[in-house]
């Protein structure tokens, strides 16, 4: 009798165990993160029902205004380079296929384009810089082509009549980004940003802002956030000033410009990481994984230096995914992708980019053929 009861109790416990186990049943869709290691994150994130529309209009004065409308997505500049939160993130702006910068607001001022035809593309990303894809697996992007005329003379403010705007204010903070650069995140009161109306007749209460670094105007702000790169080592004064549509400064009731200033200390490491917006690494291999110089979205980046491999240990993809890889190595060898059974020549010092379709299920090694060094494992579900 006692034994029977013991058995019954043990069976009940075991069944309870099994029932709880069923609750943890997950479908491994392309974007879910089962693993506990960040190295096992999916290279993309699915965001259903999010839309992105974009227009780029020539500004009446100079430059171009990039205006986006997003639905089902929230810009979260304060969480940039932090953990993924579904539905939020930031965007990346690409000019002619090369990443220009991060986009933290719907509207952005493109002031620095060279003459000629350019393709402008915007892509939605997660906080941790992975591209958002729609239900079909395509990245959520919008792009357009513009023609940039020969640049007119830089406009100067000179003596301009200010405009009074009572009860308006602006404030912001500048924090170092976990990956590279600095995040300027702030808020305004009594004022509305209107990027599409820039360089058009003034409308009280709306306009844009000017961003000054160490007293020199850097760019226009069309929203209360901006991704700052290219700051050299040392102390810098960052100032944001509210302006009317037609570039006249707003002043408060006592005639003072409505501004906010913050001083930022940039360390040597931060200056190095921020780098130049258009750098591609070149000799310095740490720049290969630098945010502003990084290659196409979702690429697996592996660097090999002095026998040590830096990159993910294991990458998870779905069967049928196209896998893109970038390898930078200080030794020449051949990269062999098991399973798919393809080999690619690797030359020391030259970046090797390749892609393939992962159409077989299983775990496959991607390794250097001659030295036998394992670069990473590819887990194809």
């Amino acid at each position: 009798m006692r034994r029977t009861r013991l058995f019954a109790a043990l069976v009940a416990i075991a069944l309870l165990f099994a029932a709880c186990g069923n609750d943890t049943r997950k479908t491994t869709a392309g974007g879910s993160t089962d693993g506990t290691e960040s190295a096992q994150l999916s290279p993309t994130e699915t965001l259903d029902a999010a839309t992105l529309e974009m227009t780029v209009e020539a500004d009446a004065k100079a430059g171009f205004n990039l205006l986006t409308q997003t639905d089902g997505f929230t810009f979260a500049p304060e969480d940039a380079s932090e953990d993924h939160v579904a539905g939020e993130g930031h965007a990346h702006i690409y000019v002619d296929g090369e990443k220009l910068t991060r986009l933290y607001t719907n509207d952005y001022y493109l002031g620095d384009l060279s003459e000629g035809s350019h393709e402008i593309k915007v892509e939605l990303n997660t906080n941790d810089h992975r591209p958002y894809v729609d239900a079909a697996g395509d990245p959520i992007t919008a792009s357009t082509t513009i023609d940039v005329p020969a640049t007119a003379d830089m406009h100067s403010h000179g003596d301009v009549e200010s405009e009074t705007l009572e009860g308006a204010s602006v404030s912001f903070t500048v924090e170092p980004d976990a990956k590279a650069g600095f995040n300027l995140v702030g808020e305004v009161a009594g004022f509305t940003f209107n990027g599409s109306a820039a360089s058009s007749p003034s409308v009280p209460g709306e306009g844009h802002a000017h961003l000054y670094v160490d007293g020199e105007k850097l760019t226009r702000l069309y929203g209360p956030a901006h991704y700052l790169t290219g700051l050299s080592e040392g102390s810098h004064e960052i100032k944001v000033e509210l302006n009317t549509n037609d570039h006249r400064p707003y002043v408060d009731a006592s005639g003072e410009p409505i501004v906010h200033t913050v001083t930022v200390e940039v360390s040597a490491d931060q200056a190095q990481a921020a780098g130049d917006d258009h750098s591609h690494g070149g000799d310095d291999m740490t720049d290969m994984t630098d945010e502003t110089g990084s290659p196409a979205e979702g690429t697996i980046v592996v660097t090999l230096a002095g026998g040590t491999v830096e990159g993910p240990d294991r990458v998870e993809v779905a069967t049928g995914d196209t896998v893109k890889v970038l390898v930078m190595s200080d030794v020449s060898d051949e990269v062999h992708v098991h399973g798919i059974d393809e080999t690619f020549d690797l030359v020391a010092g030259e970046p090797l980019e390749f892609d393939f379709v992962a159409d077989i299920g299983g775990v496959f090694e991607v390794e250097l053929e001659n030295s036998g060094t394992l670069l990473f494992e590819l887990a194809v579900r």
Partner: protein, 443 residues
């Protein structure tokens, strides 16, 4: 597993967490149910008799000779390919034949068809030839093929254990296990050693002293088919374990193979990969050797503790050495389950490649058997199916192990004591099973 450089194009995905939990729970539930509901008298020994038919002698002899020739010829060809063929493990068929067709394939097939190694073994075939020749020369009558009751250590299973440890070390610890030359040398040296031992102790020695013969025979004991003395026997699967002749060292053989397979799975987890880091060469071998030995020790200690507790529970002497060996056969299903879980997908794919590659053993562009273009379809076995088979095998192996131990206990003790004696073993087998599932989860 020998993944990089050749043998094994792919390895299995980790099983999903929910499958792990469900399987572990199932193993637990079934175990306790079994302990409460299983039979009270030993049944397996009778079930092992099964039904038998006499095989037509000519048919039996023809098949036997055909298989023996095949076994000898394959051994010779693989040895030659290993020593004289291409140096690369990707194109040389030897590593695949050695690790996949032989080490994994023979036991898997034996589980279904009975002990094929009895006739495939080149050592036994050579010994048969040698013995026949010697008999005719000396006495004209064949020497009996029975190791009898010799008590020397040579006739325990300890020599078999040493041979198996050597193989496992080569496969799992050595830093270049897939090098054809190393495999060739290992095969050659081993063959010489076995032939020498057979010359000294007789052909019957192989059945106790040759590692692979012993191991494959153990696995075959679980098969529903047995061919013995000209009779084909059909019986309940796993029942053959109840009638296995027992010798000292049997447990050692089982524990070593269990520990080795466990280490194989463990070496693929990220924990061990972090331990290894960038090591290579003999440093890597040393570390892997330590890992292999450690894993074998772990499974041994667990089993030893269980046997001590069990003996104490039923009034036997826990310090008696033979107590550990008492339920050794219950581990054999778990060994096979581990092997299926870790290797069956490898066997499915790489055996096909092995059959293709043997047509060109020396990498000269030949196509001796016409199979050189055969390519396995890597999409023909879905990762989901593989996961289910892996988990199913481990759970079934666990159930079979518990049943075999219980059946034996019922034959030796009163029902009440039999149940009591099984608690510690049940705990250990659950531990082995959950550990096996954990290895699949962390692949």
């Amino acid at each position: 597993m020998i993944l990089a450089h050749g043998v094994g194009v792919r390895s299995d995905l980790p099983i999903p967490l929910w499958l792990f939990v469900d399987a572990a729970a199932a193993a637990l539930v079934i175990s306790f149910l079994l302990l409460g509901l299983l039979w009270r008298r030993p049944l397996l020994a009778t079930a092992a008799q099964g039904r038998s038919v006499r095989l037509p002698p000519t048919l039996a002899t023809t098949i036997s000779i055909a298989l023996r020739t095949f076994g000898l010829a394959t051994f010779g060809l693989v040895l030659a390919a290993a020593l004289f063929g291409s140096d690369s493990s990707a194109s040389n068929p030897a590593p695949r034949w050695f690790y996949v067709v032989f080490w994994v394939g023979v036991p898997l097939i034996s589980f279904v068809t009975g002990d094929v190694w009895k006739v495939l073994s080149p050592f036994d075939s050579l010994a048969a030839i040698g013995q026949g020749a010697r008999d005719r020369r000396l006495t004209g009558t064949p020497t009996p093929n029975d190791p009898g009751e010799q008590d020397s250590i040579a006739f325990t299973h300890w020599p078999a254990l040493i041979g198996l440890v050597g193989f496992l070390w080569l496969e799992l610890a050595y830093h270049e296990p897939d090098s054809p030359r190393v495999i060739g040398v290992a095969m050659g040296v081993y063959a010489v050693g076995i032939i020498t031992a057979t010359a000294k102790w007789g052909r019957a020695w192989l059945r106790t002293g040759e590692g692979f013969t012993v191991l494959f025979h153990l696995i075959a004991a679980m098969s529903p088919i047995e061919v013995l003395d000209g009779r084909l026997r059909i019986r309940v699967p796993f029942s053959g374990l109840a009638t296995l002749p027992r010798r000292r060292g049997l447990l050692g053989v089982v524990l070593v193979v269990l520990g080795g397979t466990a280490f194989d799975g463990f070496s693929r987890t990220s924990y061990w990969k972090d331990v290894i880091g960038d090591l290579e060469g003999w440093t890597l071998t040393a570390l892997n050797t330590i890992g292999l030995v450690w894993m074998i020790c772990v499974v041994t200690v667990l089993w030893t503790v269980a046997s001590r507790i069990s003996a104490r529970l039923v009034g036997r002497d826990p310090t008696d050495r033979s107590e550990i060996e008492r339920y050794a056969t219950a581990l054999v299903p778990i060994v096979l389950a581990y092997a299926i879980a870790h290797y069956f997908s490898l066997f499915y794919f790489e055996a096909q490649t092995a059959i293709a590659q043997i047509s060109d053993p020396f990498a000269k562009g030949a196509d001796i058997f016409g199979t050189i273009d055969w390519q396995p379809d890597y999409t023909s076995l879905s990762p989901d199916l593989i996961s289910y088979v892996q988990v199913f095998a481990i759970v079934i192996g666990h159930v079979a192990g518990v049943t075999v131990a219980h059946d034996q206990a019922e034959g030796e003790l009163s029902h009440r004591l039999a149940i009591k004696s099984q608690y510690p073993y049940l705990a250990v087998m659950v531990a082995y099973t959950v550990a096996g599932l954990l290895l699949l989860l962390n692949a």
